[in-house]
């Protein structure tokens, strides 16, 4: 940079700051040192001439920052002819400025100028370009192996070099040594081509590598040949000799490549996010810079916008790159993406309309603006709205849609487990992740992981977290909107969960306390008294009645005290012990058959108490009435139904027995179990037992 400063400073000048004249006749002195030797500010100087009489009219083309803005070779060459003329004038050491109205000022040519005379644009250009170079090389230094970093560094450094050249001749007063000027211009072209095409290559290689070393070589070869063509002026490119191939073409190709990259990242949200940021920064800044100097030059409005404007927007691009490469998740991409696009599109649309109208309708640029605005208002905005509705998938992220469903299902949950399941289902419905994994974790915060690829949401049971992977089937990342949504859903669900849990618990506790109280009363007061009645009474009828009453109370206490199921094996063992004891005392043989599978089934307290009572009654009946010799009891589980049959080979029973008290009790119990009970006399065909009765009970088992 020191070199450029030196080069810029060492140019001969007059110490005058020039401004273009509106009607392009001469130049106006914007400011000059307050001496009588120099024309005062505001003076229109029509020409500059040497004492020898060499006459050069002044025009605004002399103030053109960059001769690249000429669209044809002939204009470019003409510019340099005039520079050569000026050189002859300056070489004489003194120049004469004439205002056309006869006034003249002879001025000695200064061989250099002070630092503070360098225009503002010089510093802006150099500094912004330096920033870019720093960023580019910084990124490359941080990630030296990556091809994209290398291309970025190349872009940055070449851009810097091109700007350096530009700044030297762009900051000239009127005139720069033509040989140097030409050299710098050519160098500027070279570097410009290099950086534009390097940027194009960057789009080819990032985020998904779409080319190889051969494409790099090919592109650079093309760039070099374009440069050779430009410098040697072999073939003239239509539209614009310099900007056409330097900027417009690579930009156009870049758009196409960008589209390809977009397609490639369809199912890779991480790459897609990187790409969005990346392309956004490029297109916005190139769009701004392009609009600001390409479009005016196409419509012959050259020089209106100083070149440091595009330079600053390029610097903006590099800054975006830098930030993005390290952490593109920094920007809320989803939101800015759309916003940036629409904003850029609006601006470009105006420029495009301008160009269109100027070229097609051939109206002067000053009159075009109102039409542009009208068209923008009437056509563009409605068009955009319509396209927006059609293309952007409406985001059903609204809570209003989900809330009623959520609340209802949460309140309807039968158990804590179904509540928790409903929560994960809800997450699935709303976010449609590629996958959802429930794993251990204590974090109660909603966070994203892996740059937004994963969302971690705590589970309602307080011990686990749900990991949602891949938002919307992997087509987007989890952003701050999703985090907020998940947070609100979670706090709401938690609240509902706590409330319903609490209510359930309170109910449970209350019921439990009541049960315990009743049970204690029964156990402490009623039971002992019943037992005493039974043991003290002389009458066997009272003894039996008290015994039966005791059984009922005992079963009730059991139901109150124990609410858990018992495995079938245990129930059958308990029954067997009791029945075997009684039958042994009554001198009856016992044949006891258990179900083979013993499939892990359980009986609820209600089931084993009621069925046990039926069994007890049946056995009592046999002992009392049947005058049998043996008893056959079997159990079976078929189709989730429990079967029990009690057979004896006694005398059988008649009508009175079947309608008596004992049997109607058993019928009641069977009905309480949701099952059926039948009595059938044994015939010779049933189970090998010749006579007597069989009582069969069937009731359904609950699903486990």
């Amino acid at each position: 940079m020191v070199v450029t400063i030196h080069a810029a400073v060492e140019q001969p000048g007059l110490g005058i700051d020039w401004a273009p004249a509106m009607d392009n006749r001469g130049l106006i002195v914007r400011s000059a040192a307050e001496t009588t030797a120099l024309p005062p500010a505001g003076t229109r100087i029509k020409s500059i001439q040497s004492p020898a009489g060499l006459f050069v009219p002044l025009g605004k083309d002399l103030l053109l920052e960059d001769p690249d803005q000429y669209a044809t070779y002939s204009e470019y060459n003409r510019f340099f002819e005039r520079q050569k003329l000026l050189k002859s004038v300056y070489d004489s050491g003194t120049v004469i400025l004439s205002a056309g109205n006869g006034r003249q000022w002879p001025i000695a040519v200064q061989s250099g100028r002070a630092l503070n005379q360098l225009p503002f644009s010089f510093w802006v250009l150099n500094l912004s370009a330096a920033v870019c170079a720093l960023i580019g090389s910084g990124v490359w230094w941080y990630r030296p192996g990556e091809i994209s970093a290398k291309l970025l560094a190349t872009t940055a450094v070449c851009y810097y070099l091109s700007i350096l050249c530009l700044s030297i001749y762009g900051s000239r007063e009127l005139f720069l040594e033509p040989a140097l000027f030409l050299f710098l211009s050519a160098a500027n072209h070279l570097f410009t081509l290099t950086w534009c095409y390097s940027l194009l290559l960057l789009v080819v290689f990032y985020p998904i590598r779409m080319g190889g070393m051969r494409s790099i070589a090919a592109v650079y070869f093309i760039a070099l040949s374009v440069w050779a063509n430009q410098t040697l002026q072999v073939i003239e490119v239509p539209v614009h000799a310099y900007y056409g191939l330097n900027h417009i073409v690579p930009y156009g190709i870049g758009i196409f490549v960008g589209y390809r990259q977009w397609r490639r990242t369809a199912r890779r949200p991480v790459e897609r996010a990187a790409f969005r940021w990346f392309i956004l920064s490029i297109w916005i800044s190139i769009g701004i810079s392009g609009s600001s100097f390409i479009v005016p030059s196409l419509t012959d409005n050259s020089g209106k916008i100083p070149l440091y404007v595009p330079a600053l927007s390029i610097m903006f691009m590099f800054i975006c790159f830098a930030l993005g490469i390290f952490r593109y998740g920094l920007f809320n991409l989803e939101h800015w993406w759309l916003t940036g696009w629409t904003w850029l599109a609006a601006g470009l649309f105006i420029s495009a309309i301008d160009i269109l109208i100027v070229f097609i309708l051939d109206i002067r640029i000053e009159f075009v603006l109102p039409y542009s605005i009208l068209l923008l208002g009437w056509i563009y905005f409605p068009l955009r709205q319509w396209l927006w509705q059609r293309l952007a998938k409406p985001e059903i992220y609204q809570l209003e849609h989900h809330m009623p469903v959520l609340i209802q299902s949460l309140f309807n949950s039968r158990s804590m487990q179904s509540f928790i399941d409903r929560w994960t289902e809800l997450l699935k419905e709303i976010f449609q992740p590629l996958d959802i994994i429930v794993e251990q974790g204590m974090n109660r915060d909603v966070v994203t992981r892996q740059h937004g690829f994963e969302l971690k949401v705590p589970n309602l049971d307080g011990k686990n977290v749900c990991r949602l992977i891949g938002n919307r089937q992997g087509s987007r990342l989890f952003g701050s909107k999703d985090i907020n949504l998940a947070k609100s859903l979670f706090s709401l669900s938690q609240a509902i969960f706590t409330i319903t849990n609490h209510t359930r618990q309170v109910q449970h506790e209350g019921a439990k306390r009541e049960r315990e109280r009743i049970m204690r009363d029964l156990h402490d007061d009623v039971l002992p008294k019943l037992i005493s009645i039974k043991q003290l009474s002389e009458s066997s009828a009272i003894e039996k009645m008290a015994g039966a009453a005791f059984q009922s109370i005992r079963d009730t206490i059991y139901l109150l005290r124990y609410s858990s199921n018992k495995p079938l094996e245990e129930v059958l063992a308990d029954w067997r012990a009791e029945v075997a004891e009684r039958l042994a005392a009554a001198r009856l043989d016992l044949d006891w058959r258990c179900p083979d599978q013993r499939n892990r089934c359980h009986l609820s307290p209600r089931q084993f108490i009621n069925c046990g009572r039926i069994l007890r009654e049946a056995v009592s009946n046999i002992i009392k009435h049947a005058r049998a010799g043996s008893v056959h009891i079997s159990f079976d589980i078929v189709d989730h139904k429990f079967h029990m049959s009690v057979s004896d080979n006694g005398a059988g029973a008649g009508e009175p027995f079947l309608n008596g008290m004992g049997t109607s009790n058993m019928r009641l119990r069977a009905r309480a179990l949701g099952g059926t009970i039948t009595w059938e006399p044994n015939s010779s065909s049933s189970a090998g037992i010749q006579k007597g009765m069989t009582v069969s009970i069937t009731f359904p088992l609950d699903d486990p």
């Binding site: 308990d574 067997r576 075997a580 042994a584």
Partner: protein
């Protein structure tokens, strides 16, 4: 003259149980107590050979009093009685050293027979208690105590398993080809081992807690 200690707080129960004891054992001296507090006043005064303890007493559990009784009268027979056949309570009583248990609700004749059986060394065992005992011996392996006296022999295990399935004592004897009396002996041994292991556990636990 047999001295029997009857620790039961319900008066009517005491009444019929005393009648039962006389029917079972003939002439006996029954010393009643309504609570542990009352029991303490009389426990050392008589040469008790048997104690009938209710599990739920107003000022404590009968189960916890077994140890005290056995300290004062080492040869005493402790029989727990309970109205509600909660096998957990019974199991706890056996672990504490009870020599047998009775359900108050059983028929009088059955109770008398059981009382005599217990004295003869043939204590009762129901399937649910048998299941608990099996589980207990499967779960506990106290390392510090000598192996022999705290694990069950194979025969004892077989007896337990059959009883847990619901077989009567006679059926068990038939299936194992031994006499019912032998089965009874096994049951008695099992109870003793249960007591030993639970005492051993308690000692281990106490040592671990630094109490002894």
């Amino acid at each position: 003259m047999k001295h029997i200690f009857l620790l039961e707080d319900d008066e009517s129960t005491r009444m019929w149980f005393s009648a039962l004891l006389e029917k079972a054992y003939g002439k006996v001296e029954i010393i009643p107590a309504e609570s542990i507090g009352q029991a303490e006043k009389v426990v050392e005064r008589y040469p008790f050979s048997m104690a009938i303890l209710d599990i739920y007493l107003p000022d404590g559990r009968g189960i916890d009093y077994i140890k005290r009784l056995k300290n004062v009268h080492p040869a005493i027979f402790c029989i727990m009685v309970t109205a509600f056949d909660d096998s957990a309570d019974i199991f706890a009583a056996l672990k504490a050293g009870a020599d047998g248990y009775l359900l108050k609700s059983q028929d009088k004749e059955k109770l008398i027979q059981l009382l005599q059986d217990i004295l003869k060394g043939a204590p009762p065992l129901s399937p649910s208690v048998a299941r608990r005992i099996i589980k207990h011996f499967n779960d506990t392996h106290p390392p510090d105590t000598p192996v022999k006296s705290t694990t069950l022999t194979q025969r004892e295990n077989e007896v337990l398993v059959l009883i847990a399935k619901g077989m009567t004592r006679n059926e068990t004897a038939d299936m194992l080809n031994i006499r019912p009396g032998t089965v009874a002996g096994y049951i008695k041994r099992i109870y003793e081992k249960l007591n030993i292991t639970s005492r051993a556990e308690a000692a281990l636990e106490a040592r671990r807690m630094g109490l002894i």
